[in-house]
Symmetry: C2
Subunit: 201 residues, 2 copies
């Protein structure tokens, strides 16, 4: 990942917030993935995202404090700062999990816990004859059509974290996704080329 | 909700953990719902769940410490305690958000942030002629079939938090769900009786 200095931080309180919420949620997903698959690379990404989130939180504080012009506004702005802190707490928790992966302090029960939770994490390789190949995430809309939320994609040696709507699925991609066991199994059948059609197609 | 003393706490480390992870995730969903819809009842539920999670964490610590019989085991068990603390941190963050709803310290930006996040919260009323009516959540499997995760259901004056697979959808139910905007819109069309078929039917 690049230096944060070169990265655009959104310019207003609302957009900073949305970025913070999305980032914290991605961090939790990636932290669980790193625990389940014992992938240190994913764990390191979580720690980098934590730094990014701290930066966002700092910008939020600066902008919020500058915006306060009356006691009433100051009170509302305090609420914004509290919400920022709550999101920051979630990101710290995700970072704590990631550190356990990096320090190799893992217990066999961890894998079972994640696998047996209602909402879990899975990975699946995309076969060359899958209907996913060559389509963008926007076209596929896997969250709606399969119930699986794509957290990351491994392409050869490279990881794509937080893929966006223009990311195109390639043969051999390994998709890391979050969903119910049923939803993940359904996506697996599609990715392996067993199922040749998705809802809405 | 009942007194926790009367509630069965799972009996082994793994099951306590799974319960903790599911509870923390439910708390985050409910906290965002309470912020978005300014529902104090949901916010109070979040605070009750926080107490339950503290109790689970306490049981986890007791069982983990009792299980340690060697320095190597003690190290692994420390990892379990750290994971428990990370999940507890997430639940504290959710509780902080819920407290803001109860103290009415809200800022208009909060609603926008949740609505414009990638994954968001929505609510929809079930019309009497919807195909959802009379089916259980297990039969419907909305997470897989629509990409929407059901967090809670309001039935008249009553809230059903964390509905399970046997919960049956009734006409007039208000479903609070988490998903992408597209997934939530899709569920709305089904709940309103506009769409008469779901994938897999």
């Amino acid at each position: 990942m690049e230096e944060w200095d070169e990265i655009d931080v959104p310019n207003n309180v609302k957009d900073i917030f949305i970025e913070m919420k999305n980032t914290a949620e991605l961090m939790v997903d990636l932290a669980y993935s790193s625990l389940l698959f014992q992938e240190k690379e994913i764990a390191e990404e979580v720690l980098e995202l934590e730094e990014y989130l701290d930066l966002l939180n700092y910008h939020l504080m600066v902008k919020a404090v500058l915006a306060a012009r009356s006691p009433k506004e100051a009170e509302q702005i305090t609420a914004i700062l509290q919400m920022g802190r709550a999101i920051d707490e979630i990101s710290n928790a995700a970072a704590d999990l990631a550190k356990m992966v990096l320090e190799e302090k893992l217990h066999p029960v961890v894998r079972d816990v994640i696998l047996e939770s209602e909402e879990t994490i899975g990975k699946v390789e995309v076969s060359p004859d899958s209907i996913l190949v060559g389509k963008t995430l926007e076209e596929l809309d896997l969250a709606t059509n399969t119930g699986v939320w794509v957290s990351a994609i491994r392409r050869g040696k490279r990881w794509i974290f937080d893929p966006d709507e223009d990311t195109k699925i390639m043969p051999g991609d390994i998709i890391i996704g979050r969903g119910t066991r049923t939803a993940l199994d359904y996506l697996k059948e599609i990715a392996r080329g067993i199922l040749k059609v998705m809802r809405n197609e």
